[in-house]
């Protein structure tokens, strides 16, 4: 078999081609996820510590009934899901710096596709990988008193995907112009910790918080993601819980749909910023 004298066989152009490029960039992240078992396993350490050590330890000091029928571990569960998604998503996003350092990014940069397609593929890839990991964590629901309700589980996975997408987009904004992993790591750490602690993952935001802390939490987009996941999960644990665990703007409970719109909107804006940064010539 030989490569015959090549006729001009150019690839496609236009939107279809761009979508194919998005898909293949996304698919590569999934292929790498599949082969990277070490990463999958190690990424469960932190959420398990939160869920069982923090959950049981702190939960033992809280009066029964603080969160309706739900114990503290149950209350924590949606927050742990959201934070685990945050970490996986952001590390997926900054893999673009590895790609740059190890050279593979060039393969994408010289390809006849728009930079926006590459960024979108990366964002969807990071979000998908993070969501897939959260599914494994979701399987632990029974251990913290959350029933295996398919509708609730599906809704949770959907919400986690939106959160993961927004966080991947944020990671891309941080990483897309950086060419060394040592540069990007401290920036990510600096950003992730406050985002996590101010998200209401570990304590209710609307309630007894001091004013300044409440204001900071409300300014954090992740807060709305955690709120949405928690409402969906806890409403299944204790249908009477109502808006008591909900995020409030003043006295108004923020509806779940608005949570979703806010997180998705922030994600979209961040993605546009990342695409713009990525597209600027040197």
């Amino acid at each position: 078999m030989t490569a015959t004298t090549a006729p001009v066989r150019l690839g496609g152009r236009g939107l279809r081609h761009e979508l194919r490029a998005v898909r293949v960039v996304w698919h590569r992240d999934l292929l790498r996820f599949r082969t990277d078992r070490g990463r999958i396993l190690s990424s469960f350490a932190q959420p398990l510590l939160f869920l069982f050590v923090l959950g049981q330890g702190l939960g033992a000091t809280l009066p029964v009934g603080t969160f309706g029928d739900a114990g503290y571990s149950t209350f924590l569960f949606p927050g742990v899901l959201a934070t685990s998604v945050m970490f996986t998503a952001v590390f997926s996003a900054i893999s673009i710096v590895w790609d740059r350092e190890l050279g593979f990014l060039r393969e994408m940069l010289v390809a006849p596709v728009g930079r926006t397609s590459i960024v979108l593929g990366k964002a969807l890839g990071g979000a998908t990988v993070a969501t897939l990991q959260s599914v494994v964590l979701l399987a632990l629901a029974g251990l913290v008193g959350v029933p295996y309700d398919p509708v609730m589980m599906l809704a949770t996975v959907g919400l986690l995907f939106v959160v993961a997408f927004a966080i991947t987009a944020l990671g891309l904004v941080i990483a897309v112009r950086v060419d060394q992993i040592q540069t990007v790591m401290p920036r990510v750490q600096l950003l992730l910790a406050p985002l996590m602690f101010l998200s209401g993952a570990f304590f209710p935001v609307s309630g007894q918080l001091p004013g300044w802390l409440h204001a900071l939490a409300l300014a954090n987009p992740i807060t709305y993601g955690v709120d949405a996941v928690r409402r969906v999960v806890l409403s299944r644990v204790d249908p009477s819980i109502g808006d008591s665990v909900a995020l409030h703007w003043g006295s108004w409970p923020v509806p779940v749909w608005l949570d979703v719109v806010l997180v998705a909107g922030v994600g979209g804006v961040l993605l546009a910023v990342a695409a713009w940064m990525f597209s600027r010539p040197e």
Binding site: P7, V25, R28, T35, R100, R106, L109, A111, P112, R280
Partner: protein, 342 residues
């Protein structure tokens, strides 16, 4: 000197095809550093064109401009008929690239790397499978197609990169120092692929190198130094342009022989370390005439000017000296199009 005027390759008439690469007045500066200071050249379709020069001469910067990874500060360039600034996507669809540094994903298999490439280049889906088979066959990696790239040797990786660069049937293949860091066997193998490629595919190869023996293989070479082209022609024309062949002769009486040769044959002579050197345009044909003079010749050797002599003549330095001065395997000043902000 019989140099073809820069930028107008000889023998273009008759092919009737537009040049594969056309560059005029190309300048690229990074801050205060002028990496490329006004390059003009034209590469014919189907040609094997070499860019010869030491590290830091502006070769890689020029290639990066041609493959749309950098924007020129001034001047213009067209590749496969498309402007590298205005029609970037069209240029990219028509070129294949093999860089100095690997750009494979080591955590994917050889085939997965190729499939990624096929998709992101938008190859027609029905052609992807057969074409992957063909390029893997060409570089002898068929039996390793399902192996992770991180298990490959340096030579295998480079072969896979070449296979990938060819996958989408580019019109112009850029090879940026393709054999750097390869062992002699892999280098020889790689040149085998390039030769086979040119026989089988309608392709122009644009190559940068700082190896003289690789430059010898090119149809034409441009000698690049300090961001400028010092000379551009076929290797033999370049060598002819820097001087005659050197015939080193040992005779029974060198002084008498020198006088006789000068008088009877009308050629220049010189002494190098006490040895008589006759400068003749075509040294091998000149040797019999020495014997016709009746000289008692003890030994004779003919040497032609090398490309290193050419490099010396056009840049004032030996290639090896420049290489040392450039300080080892330098990279171009930027890491990529998105720039290095450290």
């Amino acid at each position: 000197m019989t140099l073809t005027a820069l930028g107008t390759p000889s023998g273009e008439a008759g092919t009737g095809r537009p040049p594969a690469v056309e560059v005029s007045g190309l300048v690229k500066t990074f801050g205060d550093v002028e990496a490329v200071r006004g390059i003009d050249l034209s590469v014919r379709a189907g040609e094997l064109f070499g860019f010869l020069g030491p590290n830091g001469a502006g070769k890689s910067t020029t290639i990066q401009i041609l493959c749309t990874l950098l924007r020129p500060t001034a001047g213009a360039a067209r590749v496969a008929g498309f402007d590298v600034v205005r029609d970037r996507t069209e240029v990219r669809r028509h070129i294949g690239l093999v860089f100095q540094e690997t750009t494979l994903d080591a955590h994917l298999t050889a085939e997965q790397n190729l499939r990624f490439h096929a998709d992101i280049y938008g190859m027609p889906k029905a052609e992807v499978g057969p074409r992957i088979d063909a390029v893997l066959e060409m570089v002898g990696l068929t039996d390793r197609r399902r192996s992770l790239v991180r298990t490959f040797s340096g030579g295998m990786k480079r072969r896979l990169e070449i296979a990938r660069g060819l996958l989408h049937s580019p019109r112009v293949l850029f090879l940026d120092e393709p054999t750097i860091g390869l062992d002699p066997e892999s280098r020889a193998g790689l040149w085998g692929y390039v030769d086979r490629l040119r026989a089988e595919e309608d392709i122009t190869v644009f190559l940068t190198t700082h190896y003289m023996d690789e430059a010898e293989r090119c149809d034409r070479i441009a000698i690049v130094d300090s961001g400028r082209i010092g000379a551009l022609d076929t290797p033999s024309a370049l060598k002819a342009s820097v001087g005659a062949d050197r015939v080193r002769v040992r005779t029974a009486d060198d002084d008498a022989a020198e006088a006789l040769v000068r008088e009877r044959l009308g050629v220049e002579t010189a002494r190098e370390d006490g040895v008589l050197v006759v400068l003749a345009p075509d040294g091998e044909r000149f040797v019999p005439r020495l014997f016709e003079l009746g000289l008692t010749v003890r030994s004779v050797s003919v040497s032609r000017p090398t490309l290193d002599d050419v490099f010396l003549a056009y840049t004032g330095a030996r290639m090896s000296e420049r290489q040392a001065a450039a300080g080892g395997p330098a990279r171009s000043p930027v890491a990529g199009p998105a720039g290095g902000r450290r």
